[in-house]
Structure formats: structure tokens, C-alpha cells
Chain length 342, copies 4
């Protein structure tokens, strides 16, 4: 039985605590929060779990095997590093940390100690995203043209990070899971409308070695909620709309055909193809439940998580460089090759 | 009675011809196309109009007062210039020309000869866009945060211009009409997926002197057709969806309120406001009919069109500089102040 | 070359005239209307067609082979009968006539004279309805459970017929084409909200020998326009939404499975099946063009139209009996077996 | 502090238990279920509540003030009656009982003992339905033309009641709350597609003394989930779509205007009016929480609930007579005046 501790019982922590408590092979041993009223809620909901004020106590608790961290991003590195050094497995909220270099150090520490380091890229565990990945990886879409995502709504303004760290992080995590390549350059634009506040609207273009292009549009100040991704390929195209109640993933047999122009060998003729649409049935499983089961399984069997430190690092690399580009009105930033390889 | 001639009877020319023929105070005198089968169609539909093979004949025809040009973009400048020099008023398809400098010369020529020079920015004459402009100009939205537009579908690949010249041109024309300021810089990204072809997917960010930001996403290779614009302001926000059959313009009483933090004078507290939604009734009039009536009225009364050469030039300036930025992966390009002022 | 005459150039007549004029093997010889301004429009649009004031002149014109009748329903019988007696083929607007007995007499007259008698059930010729019929007839849906249709919008109030004669007529024509059986009884409800006016809202339930049930909801006073049909079967189910721009027909692999209860042989256990959704590509052809070509083909080759007098009669039988039931608040009315068989 | 007991911990019981436990002024004292595994769940979630096997023990428990009954409909009467006789207040699931006469006896018993008898018509407590009622009652819609509701989806087949008892019950409860009159007659149609099973598709028309008409369409075998109500009046019209995430209630300024025909005093001219659409902001409160607070308030202050026994009886009267009409293919059934008045 793996014993879990949760640090941070604010917006997302309760979901982690509840799911860890209900996962087979796992029990909730302790929850940490600095606010007494939050600990009172913990006590009512999880009478079997210890309430802890100081996260260092939880990290050093011998009765805890894995630490789940759902605190502000700026604290991730320190807490995760101390947990690893105390010999605990770690599940950390996204984004993994504030800087690429911090991610690298966490990966190295976990490697050295042979501990599981997992990043909570929840969307990766949804039936819809797993289906999209399967379709892409099986070659159903052919070569990819583009990945285009819109994720906008009204609120929730963050004070410590800008909108791409808050919302685009989901798309970058999905891209890391779904796409067969990683970006080589990024150009981002965005502005802040609250004096002194972080950027609340952002546009992120990512370039690849191939002609694949990716774009993410995020906004905290939109009048409506939109969650829609277009994914185009040479053979088929996908519309993934996370707000659709039943058909979240639609596969379109649409595209173009290219033929040489018999009259001009240097020119290609573009033809259109418009066939059926198909919405595959999606598994009804809850993402967080699947993810926690995967965490427990990785710890028990010494396996590497699907959303490991590398995935977390890749996302932070894009956020860090994207923010840099955004501050210079879209000046493109080349992405260095990843240092840590496994 | 103003006598009109149309040059180019391909995709859009028939609409111009039909509407010019049916507009009060105007008659269709001549139509030019180099393809005999197109002229045969003209003859059947408009038995009273002359069929002309050579556009120079039409331009020099003393029986023609105004020339409507719906030919490929690369020919706009030459035809329009010769028509102005022949003393004709001119209506030219969008984009007005291939280069800013060409637009400037056309504007100067028309000014000197006191001829009407109008650009066919059709969307400006739709009831929906006029309603959006009224709402913005009356201050209902407050100060503007952003203008965000998506215009994607499958096809129609153009061979001579890229997708922003073909699709973003609509949004730029609308922005020129609706927004109270003009962009000062542009950053654009995009790629071509057809070897040797123009960019078929493009993203255009425009910066302003204020914190207003504008973004346009266009794509010829999307599986679904989307035409949706979000317009956010300090007081209200608009969703304008041109594919909605009845409620094209929705006004949301949503946004944020900023208050000083009593505990920290340097920090603003963000609150949310979520009120009613309102979809104003739109006039049912057809845009092209209104536009042709406006053209006839400008010619008859020596008035300046709403979509004059300046508007056309502004759009071309953005297209030209946007394409430049796109070729450099988003490097921002400053927009010089407009030379021609009236 | 078949020469067509059109009687009634109001709302629908112009569509018939235009399509007859453009159909291969057919020419528009004459158009009749009692209003001089309508005949003036005819003259401008169809300079080759004769303008006729008195429909009897058109019916007796030796230069006319087929008469298309788009006049008020109450006049259909007299005009169609006189046309048949004058040896003309006939295309008549839906509903075919005001009474079953009138339909029967027209069918007999056409039979005796070996003339084509076709009813303009336009929806039957749309790609969507033909696809639905194919899916049903191929057995893809299994045994049918129900046919449920909603057809509501604001207006257009008719003065001579109630809303089921005006709107449900479309659904009854589609049902006649798509379903493998014909109703044996009908129960209808509805009311009038305009004093002295015909019923403007109606609900029509139709029963069959099997457990199939059909229902049509029509309304002239709805705030929104809806055109949606659900079609359920033991194997698959269809949603046909005529207002969808691209995916009008969606096929759902959903339903129930029935198993004997091992503990109770008299009880069935109901299980649920929820699989993929599939939207087949639809042919882009225009319905009225296909229909006119079919008319010309039937006349030229002595074939029976898909929407013959029998189909028209069946629809009128349901309208007549449905109206009777409606006047008695839903009292069910048995439908006699059809008299005329072919 | 009011002490609540819940009988039946299946699908809905857990929601009642949770909300009763969290309502101010109320505590959860006991939960009854005959299945040991359900009681085990109760023990884990509500360690402070007694687990009871026999409902009679709960009904007679002196530590219980109010009994919430969420068992199969056929058991409602017996349990509720015994609870009232034991001096307990009662909240009973909808439909209130199997027969009108049972409802009447429960009402009488509660009256005599001055106990609160409330029926769990949950939709009545939603912000959307309360808004619709306010709009109707304030006269915003003018005189009502119709109430038309569709409530269809795949499953959940019930074995003891047909689909109108399971699904139409919601609409009848809403109608009872929203409409200014009560039906005087009902005509219903429907069939069963499972041999020996209850009707799984149903259509219910209700007539009123005025020209108002109401219709409810329910179906357990639909491929898609629909929850949409149209409500038309002389002044405005409402579309209430419970599946809309944000704008559940839309008010349309559409309709007709009636004028006397100056040429024919016996005829009315129908004109159309098409104005703005307006979606009022809805309160975000959870219906069940509001309802439980209302229950506690009624008990504490001796007030009559909004959804009292009368409301429950009215709904059962329509279900009972609707089922009777359905068995006779829509034969209309007159509704006797209500016996119990308060």
C-alpha cells in the first residue's frame, strides 16, 4: 500500500487528495496547508489523513511514500527537490517549475535516486487526448500540417504567472504527448491589460523541422469559453472540442490532393477531397483516476510515467522561451536541443 | 444615370454586374472578359450590356462612367490607373493592389482628377459589421482590449497570393472600419504546405499605441468553416459569428473590475463581472446592394466613399508588412506612418 | 424537347420556371399568372416564354407538353384535371389536392390517358433524404422504432390551410419515401391562436401495424427555426438536421440490447450500446434540378415518377384525417386501406 | 437543528443525503437501504449517520424529524403515509405516488397533523426555471400561446413505470410552477418497443380553458440528449435549453401582430415582428441546495413548500390520465376539477 501526502489544499489539491484516497493500492496519509480553515475541511473529508501545517514535516514524514505538490508554481522546485532528497516519489502540478534549469535539476535528482518524478499533465490522461494520439501515431492523419488550439474564457487571473503559463501549458502538454516532433523555434505575442499584471492574452506559434506549424491562443478575458483544437494532416483532419458533451473528437476525411500540372512541370495542381466525418466512441473513464492509478503503478513497478520530468521540462522550455519572445513582440526564439536525455 | 463597366467576369464579377445593373441611378453598360464562354454568359444575362474582350477598350469607352475591377490582384494597379487617367471613377476589388506604393499612386491620381476611388471591402457594408462599429464607436464596449478573428475553411487555394492576402484581407478591412486606432507594428507567422505554393496558413498579430492587440488566424486547409470574431473591451464584449443564421452579433456584459488593494497600494485586485447577453436585431439588407448604392451616391454627389483608397492602402500596408514578418518567423515589423493624408 | 408551362408565378413558381428552363431536354414555353406585375417579371427573366393571363389558355396550348401547377391548394384539382383532360403531363405542388377523393380521380385520369402525374415533394430529391432512405432500406438501422420530426419557425401564416397542410406535408412526403410501411391510424392535436384562423401549431402521431410510431411537430409561431428528424432503429439511429451546413445526416451506433433474464424467463434485461457516430458525405446536387430532370425523364420514357399520384394521395389522406382528429382533440382516426393500387 | 433520515440510497438518495447533511439548520441522522453494500458506502461518507436496514425503523426513530423518500414510486405511498402517521415531516421523490387518490390521502394526512409534505420537484428550484416563471408571471411574455418541451436521451429504462412517469414528470412539475392555468384535458400517444415493457416513447398534449396548448415529448431511446422548451406568448417567446452551458434562457422579441383587414372586417391580417434576443444572467446557485434550505425553512417556520402535496398531486393526475389516453391511442381524457383545495 503506497502512502500519499498532498501539499497545497486550494483549488486542485482536493481533487488530488480525493483521487489518491480512492485509488487501489494507495492511501491518503497526510495533507498540508498553511490555512487552518482548509485543514478543517481536510479533517472532515479525510478523517484518516494527518493534517500538517509545515510542508517540510510532510516531506520528511516516514509514513509518506509519494508527495503530490499543488502549490504556486514558484514553490514547486524547492518542495519537489526536498521531497526527492528525502527519498519520496513526486507528483508535481504543471507547470513543473519556473525555469528549464530547475526542471533539469529535478530530473537528475530523481534519476540518481531512482525515484518516480511525474508531472500532472492531466489532459494527457483523458480519453479524448489518448484517442487523438492514437489516431496520429497510427498514421491515420498522414503527415501533419498544423496543430491549432484555442483556450479562452473569463478569468481566472493569476498574479504570479502570465496566461500562457496558466492556460497554454495544457496545450503544450498535449502537443508533447501527441505530436511526433518537438518545436525548434517559437514566436509569441501578447499583452497585459491590467497595469502591472502579467499578460492576460497570448498567441504562441511554434515551428518544427518539418513544415508542421503549431499555434495556441489563450485569453483570460474572453466573453465565452472555448476549448477547441484543429489538427490537420495530409490524409485526415481532426476537430477536438473539449466542451462537446458527447462527440469530443471528430475525424474528417477532408484535404487536398496535389498533382503535377501536365502543362507545367514546375507547378502543382491542388484538388479538394471532402468525404465522411467520423466521431469515434470515447472511453468514459475519468482522467484523474487513470492518472493516479498510473502513478501508483509506476511507483510499484519502477516504471517511467507517460508524463515524466522530460515532458514537464519540454513544456517549461516552451513557456520560458515563449514569454521571452512575447516581451519582444514576436521576435522568434530558437530552442536549444534538450540537454537531459534518458 | 451612371453607366458602369465591369472588368473580369469570373467568381465575383457576376455579383458586381448584377448589383450594378439593379441599382437605382445606375445601368450596366459593358462587361469585359478574355474568355468567350464567360462573355456568352454575360450576353444571356445582360443583353443590354456590351461584351468586351480587351479591357483597354472598356476603360476608354466614352459610354462608361465607372469601372469596376474584379481581376487578379496583380493587374489591379495597371487597370485602375489607366481607368483613372481615362477620367473614370473606379471600384476595385480587395486587396486594392500588390504594394503600398501602388495604392499611394492611385490615391494621388484620383485626388488630382477629383474622381471617386472606392475599394470593394464588402464586409464593411454588412448589417453585422455596421452594428459592431456602431457599438464600438458609441463607447458601449469601453476601451478596447483586443480584436481576435478566425477565418478558416477548406480551399480555395490561390496561386498568386498567400492566404493572408486572400482571407485576412476581410478582417483587416473590418478592423480599419471598426477600430478607433491603426496598428503600429505587426508580427506574423505562417507556412506553406504545397511545395512552391504560397503560405496557406497564417497568424497575424497587430500592435497599437494603446494596449489594444489584434490577431487574425486564416487557413485554407481547415476541416471546418469558421468565421468568428471576439472583441473585448473594458465595459462589454462582442462575439460576432458570421455563420450564425440569426444572431450574428452577441453583446456580453462581462469583464473585470480593477480595484486598488487596500493592503498593498501597488497591487490591483481583479474582480469578475458576468451579466446579461444581448443580441441586437440586424437589418436584413444585402451588403453588396448597399455598397453599390453608396458608390452611385458618391459619384453623383462628389462624396468620399466609406471604403476609399486610404482604407485600401491601410489594408495593403498590413498585408505587405505581415508577409514580410511571416517570411522571418514572426520578427516584428514597425509600420511607418501613413504618407498620404487627406 | 419537352415544352413546359408553369401556372402560378408567386413564391415557388419562379423556382419551377427557372429549373424547367435550365433542364436538359426541356424548355419553358409559357408562364401564367393573373397579376400583370408578375408577368412583367416573367418577361424580363424568360423572354422566350409566353406570358398568359388565363390558366385555361395555357392548359389548352398545343405548344405545351407538361403543366407545372404552383397555385393555392384549393385550385390544384380543377387545374390538374383540366390539364390531364387536355392531354398534358402534370407536375402539381404539394399538397396534391384538398381531399383524398380528388387525388384518386386525378390518379385515375392520368392512368387512363397514360400521362405522367407527379407531385412536387421536393425534399424527396435532396441528397440528405435520399441518403436516409438508402440507410433505412439497406437495413442499416434494423427494425424501425420511431420517426420523429420537428419543423417550426416564425411564419408564414397561410389563410386557406392550417399548419399541418403547410409544414407537416414535407415530413409526410419524406416518410412516404423513407419508411417501409404506411400508417394505419392517426391522432393529432393543435390549436389556432388567431381568431378565425387555421390551426398554427400542430402535433401529429401516426401508428403502424408494427410497433413503429411517427410524430411530427409543426408550428408557425416559434421564436427559432428548427428542422430536425430523429429516426431510431434496433441497430442504429439517425439525426437528420436540415439546417446543419455540412453534416446534415448523422448515424449513431447506439441503442439497446435485450436479453432474457436468467432468473426470470418472463423478463427482458435492457442493456445499452453506445458506439461511434458517422456522418456520410452527401452529394452536393440541388434537389429541384434533380427533380426536374426526373420529370423530363419520366415523360420521355413513359416511366412512373418516384413522387407519383399515389405518394401525393397518401400524404393528403394523412392531412385530411389528421385535421379531423385535431378538431376532436386527438381522437384517433383509423386510416382505410388505400383504394387505388397500381 | 432538524434531524433528517433518508430512505433509499440508490441513484438519487446520495444527493439528498449529501445536501441534507450540508444544509444549515439540518443534520443527517439516519439512512436506510436494504443492500449492505450501499449501507457500507453510507458509513464511509456519513460516519455520523445511522445505517438502517428496515425503513420502518427509520420512520419510527424518535431521533428523526423529517423523512426523505427516494425509493421506487410504487412504495412512496406506504412509506410516506407511515412517516406522516409517525409524526414526521416528509420529502418524497417525484412522482409523488402511483395514483391521484394516494396523493389526496397523503395531503389530508399532512394537513390534519400540520406536517410539512414536500415533493422533490427539483427543477422548480433551478435558477433557469425560476427565471422563466418570473418572466411569465410578470407578464413579459403576454398571453401564453404554447409550452412545448422535448426531453429525450438514451436510457435509463425503468421497469415499474413508463417514460412519461420517468421523464415527463419533470416538465409537468415545471408547468405546474410556471403556467398561470392548469390543464383541462390530455391526449397522449406512445408505444413500447421492449416486449412486455412499459412505453419508452411518449407524446403528451395538454389543453387548457384558454387557447394555451402544452406538449411534452419524452423518449428513452434517442441517440442524442435533448432538453429544450419553447414557450410562446403574444409579446415575447422563450427558448429554455437546459444543456446550454451558459445561456440557458433566451428571450426573443418575436411574434405576430394582428390587425383588422380594412377591406374585410371579418378577416385579420397577420404581421411579423422580429426584434432583439436577450439572455438574462442566471444565479449560479445549486438547485438541490436551495431546495433543502427551503425544506428546512418550511419545517422550522410552519410554512407551505413551493412544491407541496398539491403540486405533486397535479403532476400525478396528468401522468395517470395521460397513461390512460396513451393506452387508447390518443383518445382525449377530460381532467376533473381538483378535489382537495387549501
Amino acid at each position: 500500500m503506497i502512502k500519499a501526502g498532498v501539499i497545497g489544499y486550494g483549488y486542485w489539491g482536493p481533487n488530488l487528495a480525493r483521487n489518491l484516497a480512492e485509488t487501489d493500492g494507495c492511501s491518503l496519509a497526510a495533507v498540508c496547508d498553511t490555512r487552518p480553515d482548509r485543514l478543517a475541511v481536510v479533517e472532515r473529508r479525510h478523517p484518516g489523513a494527518k493534517g500538517v501545517f509545515d510542508w517540510k514535516d510532510l516531506v520528511n514524514d516516514p509514513g509518506v511514500d509519494v508527495v503530490a505538490i499543488s502549490t504556486p508554481v514558484s514553490t514547486h522546485f524547492e518542495i519537489a527537490m526536498m521531497a526527492l532528497r528525502a527519498g519520496k516519489h513526486v507528483l508535481v502540478e504543471k507547470p513543473m517549475a519556473m525555469r528549464v534549469e530547475e526542471c533539469e535539476r529535478l530530473i537528475e535528482e530523481a534519476e540518481r535516486r531512482r525515484l518516480v518524478l511525474m508531472v500532472d499533465h492531466t489532459f494527457v490522461y483523458t480519453p479524448a487526448v489518448r484517442k487523438v494520439r492514437d489516431l496520429v501515431r497510427e498514421g491515420l492523419l498522414g503527415d501533419l500540417y498544423y496543430y491549432d488550439s484555442v483556450r479562452v474564457n473569463l478569468g481566472l487571473f493569476q498574479h504570479d504567472v502570465n496566461v500562457i503559463w496558466d492556460l497554454a501549458v495544457h496545450d503544450l502538454a498535449i502537443m508533447d504527448f501527441v505530436l511526433p516532433e518537438r518545436p525548434v523555434a517559437v514566436s509569441a505575442t501578447g499583452v497585459s491589460h491590467v497595469p502591472g499584471g502579467p499578460e492576460n492574452i497570448g498567441y504562441l506559434t511554434m515551428f518544427f523541422s518539418s513544415s508542421l506549424i503549431a499555434h495556441v491562443h489563450v485569453n483570460w478575458l474572453a466573453p465565452v469559453k472555448l476549448r477547441r483544437t484543429l489538427l490537420g494532416g495530409t490524409r485526415k483532419m481532426i476537430v477536438y472540442d473539449d466542451l462537446e458533451p458527447s462527440e469530443k473528437v471528430k475525424v474528417y476525411d477532408r484535404g487536398i490532393t496535389l498533382n503535377s500540372n501536365p502543362e507545367n512541370v514546375y507547378q502543382l495542381l491542388v484538388g479538394y477531397r471532402s468525404g465522411d466525418m467520423h466521431a469515434p466512441r470515447l472511453d468514459g473513464a475519468e482522467a484523474l483516476r487513470i492518472e493516479m492509478q498510473h502513478l501508483v503503478d509506476c511507483i510499484a513497478n519502477g516504471r517511467r510515467p507517460m508524463t515524466d520530468g522530460e515532458a514537464g521540462l519540454e513544456v517549461v522550455r516552451l513557456l520560458e522561451n515563449g514569454t521571452r519572445s512575447m516581451r519582444e513582440r514576436g521576435r522568434p526564439v530558437e530552442l536549444e536541443a534538450q540537454k537531459v536525455t534518458v
